[in-house]
């Protein structure tokens, strides 16, 4: 069972190490991780996808809360949230395949952000399954390189992840 955690932390050096180190030494597995500053420059937000049952999730959240630099930990439920990942995919093309690739990109509402003689770079945003589907379709043309950000997630509606702990 996968869970997406939003973790608000102090925007200070070394905090990522503290969080990542906690996962490894307690035997929790990080599936994906994305970090960036929030609307408040003193606060960063990490989105970490972790797999495990409810007991593991509870321990992860409690152990994270013990870190002094962790301000708040929330479990973002998949069905009540917006989840996005971004990928850049460099696809090999020639004059015969370029049009077909561009068609696929259109269908997915992705973008071509760089065009070369032998390759194009596709930018796609979406949830994990959409990016996986895109990757599958582009594979036949030859994927030269691919980079994916970790997932970021936000609750739908008015609900927010506050910086105040409890």
């Amino acid at each position: 069972m996968k869970h997406t955690l939003a973790i608000l932390v102090e925007n200070k050096p070394g905090v990522l190490t503290r969080v990542a180190g906690l996962f490894s030494r307690r035997g929790f597995n990080i599936e994906s991780l994305a970090v960036g500053v929030t609307e408040n420059p003193d606060t960063s937000r990490m989105t970490i996808v972790v797999s495990g049952d409810d007991h593991i999730l509870e321990q992860v959240m409690k152990q994270l809360n013990k870190l002094i630099d962790v301000i708040r930990v929330s479990d973002i439920p998949g069905d009540e949230s917006v989840n996005r990942e971004l990928a850049l995919i460099k696809v090999g093309v020639d004059s015969t395949t370029r049009a077909e690739v561009m068609q696929i990109v259109d269908v997915f509402r992705a973008k071509i952000v760089d065009v070369g003689i032998k390759s194009v770079v596709v930018e796609i945003t979406g949830d994990e399954s959409k990016i996986n589907a895109m990757e599958q379709l582009l594979r036949q043309f030859g994927i030269r390189e691919m980079v994916r950000t970790g997932k970021v997630a936000m609750n739908r509606g008015a609900k927010t992840v506050q910086t105040e702990k409890h």
């Binding site: 180190g21 030494r25 007991h55 702990k165």
Partner: protein, 559 residues
């Protein structure tokens, strides 16, 4: 008002004054020279150890004996890494130790400079929090936060790494009146609704057991615990860390539980219908086979650390908060006349009579006898232990009456802890007799500190239960490895009496039962650092014992 200008080093000393630090255990070196120069003029007592590991253990022993934070100091690189075992020991047992380390100058960090070690990285998993000073102006806030974090909530060690150039840099000193940390707000008051539910479970229970640990001692809740036990007439078993939380001689005391606990404590837990766990963490040495632990009981778990609740066992009723606060509230809701434990306490009385803690009473000098004699001769002593058989016998056969009189490395099980920790305890409580109950193996891991206790006139007594073996490992080899005593015989050890004398301490040797008491008396009266070499039975085992992986009622008596 203008802020006084001073060096970072001076700012550290000023900040330590503000935190009412009276003593530092330390060892100088290149990266802490500016700080040692300031210490030279300060009123803070500095005790020069002979190995940095001992500085950390001494700060830890000082803290456990006094309840105050203990401070240790070392230089960068090897000085800092030598603290690591001591910091890990304090972390596992929730002891507020402040470790200050020198670091190479900021411009050299990351360049593998001479005596550089990334000590904040190394101690990340064994500190409650740690700091690398990036700017001398941050020193007062960092020290204030460090002491606050170390001593509040579930206590623990905090390390402050101070680059050498920040020690000499001039800054404007202002000690913060208060601190704000968005990510750190420990819970002290237990949820009243939960406490009420606990009271109703307690009043319904017919076979309750109070299972208590170090949390009682840390929160100074021994009186409240005693009131609760007596109001609800429930027997009390303590963990190793909880020795002293409840008087060993009290009729409701079950002594220690777990691997080397009493039979009756283990039987009581296994038959109980309600475990009231306070300030404990269901460690594997306590629970044995976890799936078979207290099979008939509901579990109430009180702890200040929410992460401990539900970590090892499922809990029916969690209460997060300070033990003293919660017990005070709980006492309002339980009334003696509603208690239904009469049959239960009678059953426990019978178990206690049937299965007492005992050993072979003959003419040979047995280690248990030595501990009993120490208990009779020095009933108010602070007992510090090393790790292994000596530690278990010290827990089993000394009659503890008060908190902070049993000091031992429970979680990490650090051999070599006892002697330096006893030094710290004696510095913190000079009016008390402090006795390190040691093994010949453990003592030799930090025996160099004899120089420290002699130089600084710290009259601790080291009672070595000398069996010429790494006894606990030998015991396991005897029981589970066909008596193949691989690397556990310590033949060829030093003559401990001569060793003591070489350092200028008092050395005594005892080989007969009849001489035990006199030797202890002589050591106490001498008011000198003393080693008593008790030459005890070589192959004595710690009994009873729950084999690893068994349920705790599957407990065996060993010959």
């Amino acid at each position: 008002m203008t802020k006084p200008k001073m060096s970072g080093a001076k700012a550290i000393i000023e900040s330590l004054y503000r935190e009412k630090v009276e003593v530092i255990f330390g060892y100088p070196g290149g990266a802490v020279l500016p700080l040692y120069d300031e210490l030279y003029d300060s009123d803070i007592r500095h005790i020069l150890v002979r190995h940095e590991q001992a500085a950390a253990h001494a700060a830890d022993g000082y803290s456990r004996a006094t309840g105050k934070a203990g401070v240790c100091l070392a230089t960068s690189g090897p000085g800092a890494t030598n603290l690591v075992t001591g910091i890990a020991t304090a972390y596992m047992d929730s002891v507020p130790v402040i470790a200050i380390t020198g670091q190479v100058p900021r411009s050299l960090i990351g360049y593998d400079a001479f005596q550089e070690a990334n000590i904040t990285g190394i101690t990340l998993p064994i500190t409650k929090h740690n700091y690398l000073v990036q700017d001398s102006k941050d020193i007062p806030v960092i020290i204030k936060e460090a002491f606050y974090i170390a001593q509040t909530g579930r206590p623990g060690p905090v390390l402050i790494d101070v680059p050498k150039d920040t020690q000499s840099e001039i800054m404007e000193f202002e000690y913060p009146a208060e601190i704000k940390m968005r990510g750190y707000k420990p819970t002290y008051t237990g949820n009243e609704q939960q406490v009420k539910k606990a009271a109703s479970l307690i009043l319904k229970a017919e076979k309750p057991v109070l299972y208590v640990g170090g949390g009682i001692i840390i929160s100074n809740a021994t009186e409240e615990l005693r009131s609760l036990a007596e109001s609800i007439m429930a027997p009390v078993t303590t963990t190793l860390m909880g020795m002293g939380a409840f008087p060993s001689g009290h009729p409701l005391s079950l002594g220690m539980l777990g691997m080397h606990g009493t039979r009756y404590a283990n039987y009581a837990v296994q038959e109980s219908d309600l475990i009231i766990a306070i300030g404990v963490r269901f460690d594997d040495r306590v629970t044995g086979k976890i799936s078979a632990f207290a099979p008939n009981a509901r579990i109430i778990h009180l702890d200040i650390d929410p992460a401990e609740i539900g970590k090892n066992v499922r809990v029916d009723l969690p209460i997060v908060g300070d033990a003293k606060n919660i017990l005070k509230t709980l006492l309002k809701y339980v009334r003696q006349e509603q208690v239904r434990t009469e049959a239960w306490t009678r059953k426990i009385e019978a178990w206690k009579k049937e299965y007492p803690l005992t050993y072979k009473k003959d003419n040979l000098l047995r280690p248990q006898f030595v501990v009993e004699q120490i208990s009779e001769t020095c009933p108010d002593a602070i007992i510090v232990t090393e790790v292994g058989q000596n530690q278990m016998w010290a827990a089993q056969y000394f009659n503890y009456k008060n908190p902070r009189t049993f000091i031992s490395s429970g979680g990490l099980g650090t051999m070599g802890y006892g002697f330096p920790a006893s030094m710290g305890a004696k510095v913190g409580r000079p009016e008390s007799t402090v006795i390190d109950i040691a093994g010949d193996g453990s003592f030799q891991m930090n025996s160099q500190e004899l120089a420290t206790v002699v130089q600084n006139d710290i009259p601790v007594i080291v009672a070595i239960l000398n069996n010429g073996f790494l006894g606990m490992v030998r015991q396991w080899q005897e029981l589970f490895f066909n008596k193949r005593f691989s690397a556990t015989c310590l033949e060829g050890s030093v003559d401990f009496v001569k060793l003591a004398e070489a350092y200028g301490a008092l050395g005594l040797r005892v080989t007969k039962k009849s001489d035990v008491k006199d030797a202890i008396m002589e050591a106490v009266k001498s008011e000198r650092p003393t080693i008593i070499d008790f030459v005890v039975e070589k192959q004595e085992n710690v009994s009873p014992m729950v084999p690893a992986g068994a349920a705790i009622n599957e407990i065996l008596d060993l010959e």
